[in-house]
Symmetry: C2
Subunit: 327 residues, 2 copies
C-alpha cells in the first residue's frame, strides 16, 4: 500500500496543506509542527514523490557531470568530491563518461538536458557541441574552456609546468622531454599551458624543447609503444615531464625495465597528484592539483549560478609539489 | 522558444499521435514515417521532456548505483563499465558513494527511491537498512549479500584466495600473513571468502594463519600504521596476501622502505587486478577479477529483472592471475 500525504496529515494531526508546506519548506511553521510531520513521515515510511514535486517546483535537484572518464585517479577523486559536496547541498548527480568522443558527449548532454538537470559541471569538451550554448542552463567548467560565458575552475597549469621543468633542470637534467595530449584534442585545453611553461623554461635555460603527443584516447599498448619509441629515439634522455600521472607511471615502468637508474640516470615529474596515486605510487614526484578544493569551488559556484545566472568568474588555484623519489 | 510536439508533427507532415508513437516506440510504423519524425526532431532540435513522459510511462530510465567509493581502481572501473553498458541500453545512472557509512547509505537510498529509479545495482551494504527489502524494486548486488531475494554477481573469491596463498607457498614463503576487512564491516561479505581460502590453505600445508584487519574506512595514515605494526611484530614475515590492491601497494611501499628485497626476502599478492592498477603498478602480482564481465552481467540481469521481477540467480566468475614481479 502506498502511503499518501493524507495519511501523514492524519497521523500528525495537521492539515494536508501543512504537510505540503513542511515538504516544500514554505511559509512559517513552528518547530513543533515540523517535528510532528517528520515523525509521522518516519513512522509511515513516507517518501515524497520527487518527480511529481519537481514538475510543480520547476527544479529536479539533479546535476549532470560530463567528464572524459571516471577511472583516472584525477577524475575519480574530482567526481567523488563533487558528488559529496552536492549531496550535502541536497543535490543528486547524474554521471557519464564521454571518453572524449564528441558523439557520446553530445548524446549524453542531450539526455541530461531531457532529464532537466538543474545544472552541469563539465570537464570534457569536444568543440562544435551546440547544446552548451544554452543561456538557460547553469554550467561550470573544470580545466576546459567551453565557451566565453562559462567560468573555468582550474589549477595554475602554467605554474605547475614551470615548477616541474625548473626542478628537473635544477637537479641536473639537460635533455628533458615533455609529453602531452595532442593540441587538437579539446578546445584550447588548459593543460596545454603545462606544455607552454615547459617550452618557455627550456628556452630560457638555453635547452632544446622536445615534445611528444600521447593521445588520451589511445589504448594502453599504443601509449606504451610511444613511450618506448621516445627512449629509442633519445637514449640519452635524462629527464621527463609528463602531463599526467598515469602516463608518468607508464614512463617510470618503461625506464626501469630499460635499466635506467632513477633518479640518478633519469629524472621524472608527473602531473595531478591525486590521493590514490600518492598512495599507490608514492615514489613518483609530481605536481599536485588541489582536487578537493577545485571540486568544492565548482559546486559552490554552480549553486550560485543556479540562483543567479549572471554570477560567475574564472578561478585558478595554486599547485603543490609531491616530493617522491624520481627527481 | 520551446519546441513542441505540434511543431515536430507539422514539419514531419504527420499527426501528433504518430510523433508520440515514434517517441514511445508503440504500434507499428513504417521506417519512412519513423525517419521523417526523427529528421523533423533533429531539424527543430526537439528534446522530448523525459520527466513528463516518465509520469505517463511509469519508468524513469534512471538506475541508481550504491557503492562505497568511486575512487578505488576496482570500483572506478566497475562503475565506469556499468555506466557504459547502461548508456547503451538507454539508461542513465544516478551515482553516489556511501563511504560504507550506513547513515549516508540509507539517506542516499531514500533519495534514489524518491527519484523513482527503475532499479538499483548495489556494491555496498550495511545491515539493517530496511529500504532494500522492497519487493517492487529490482536490485542486483555485486559481491555483497543484501538479502536472500537479491542475486549476487561476484568473482570466485575463494578460488582467488586459494590461488594467492598456494602461489606464495609454492614459491617458498612460509610465514604468510593475510590482511582483510574486519568481519563485521558488511553483511556476510564475499571477500571474507578470500580469508577463508587463505586459512584453509595454510592449515592444509601445516602453516599458521595470521590475519590482520585493515578497516576500509580508516585513514591512509592509520592503514599505514597497521602495516608498519605487522612488520614490527613479525619481522620474519616472508609473504603477504592482501585482500585489495590499494592496501597491497601500501604494503609494497612499506616493505621496500624497510629494506626487504622483493620477491627474494618478501613475496606479495594483491587482489582485484583493475586495469588502472595493472598500468600504474604493473610490478604487483595480483588476483584479477573480471570486472568488465561482472558489470556486463549485472546490467543484463538488472534489465531482465526490471521486465520480469522473478528473474535472477547468483553468478560467480572465475578469477585470473596477473604475473607481476612481487612473487
Amino acid at each position: 500500500m502506498t502511503v499518501k500525504i493524507d495519511d501523514v496529515a492524519k497521523l500528525a494531526g495537521v492539515s494536508k496543506t501543512t504537510v505540503s508546506r513542511v515538504l516544500n519548506k514554505r511559509g512559517s511553521l513552528s518547530e513543533k509542527t515540523i517535528k510532528k510531520v517528520y515523525d509521522a513521515m518516519d513512522e509511515l515510511n513516507y517518501r515524497p514523490n520527487v518527480i511529481a514535486r519537481q514538475l510543480f517546483k520547476q527544479e529536479t535537484k539533479l546535476i549532470g557531470l560530463i567528464f572524459p572518464t571516471v577511472t583516472s585517479p584525477f577524475f575519480g577523486q574530482l567526481i567523488s568530491s563533487i558528488q559529496k559536496q552536492l549531496f550535502n547541498q541536497g543535490y543528486r548527480v547524474l554521471i557519464g563518461d564521454s571518453k572524449n568522443d564528441s558523439r557520446i558527449e553530445r548524446k549524453y548532454l542531450q539526455e541530461l538536458l531531457a532529464h532537466q538537470v538543474d545544472g552541469l559541471i563539465v570537464g570534457s569538451h569536444n568543440s562544435g557541441i551546440d547544446e552548451y550554448n544554452n543561456p538557460n542552463m547553469p554550467i561550470v567548467a573544470i580545466d576546459r574552456r567551453v565557451n566565453d560565458d562559462i567560468p573555468i575552475i582550474s589549477s595554475n597549469n602554467y605554474m605547475g609546468g614551470l615548477m616541474a621543468t625548473e626542478l628537473l633542470i635544477k637537479k641536473g637534467a639537460r635533455k628533458i622531454i615533455h609529453t602531452n595530449d595532442p593540441k587538437n584534442l579539446v578546445g584550447p585545453p588548459q593543460n596545454q599551458e603545462r606544455k607552454r611553461a615547459y617550452v618557455d623554461s627550456m628556452i630560457e635555460h638555453g635547452l632544446t624543447p622536445i615534445v611528444y603527443s600521447i593521445d588520451y584516447n589511445f589504448s594502453d599498448s599504443k601509449k606504451r609503444q610511444i613511450i618506448e619509441k621516445i627512449f629509442q629515439e633519445h637514449p640519452d634522455v635524462d629527464g621527463m615531464f609528463v602531463s599526467n600521472d598515469v602516463d608518468a607511471c607508464r614512463v617510470l615502468n618503461v625506464a626501469r625495465h630499460l635499466g635506467y637508474k632513477i633518479p640518478e640516470d633519469f629524472k621524472l615529474v608527473g602531473f595531478d597528484g591525486a590521493d590514490l596515486t600518492k598512495i599507490t605510487v608514492p615514489d613518483l614526484t609530481t605536481i599536485v592539483q588541489p582536487i578537493d578544493k577545485m571540486a568544492e569551488y565548482a559546486v559552490d559556484m554552480l549553486i550560485k549560478r543556479i540562483k543567479t545566472p549572471s554570477y560567475g568568474h574564472d578561478k585558478m588555484f595554486p599547485v603543490g609539489l609531491w616530493n617522491g623519489e624520481t627527481v
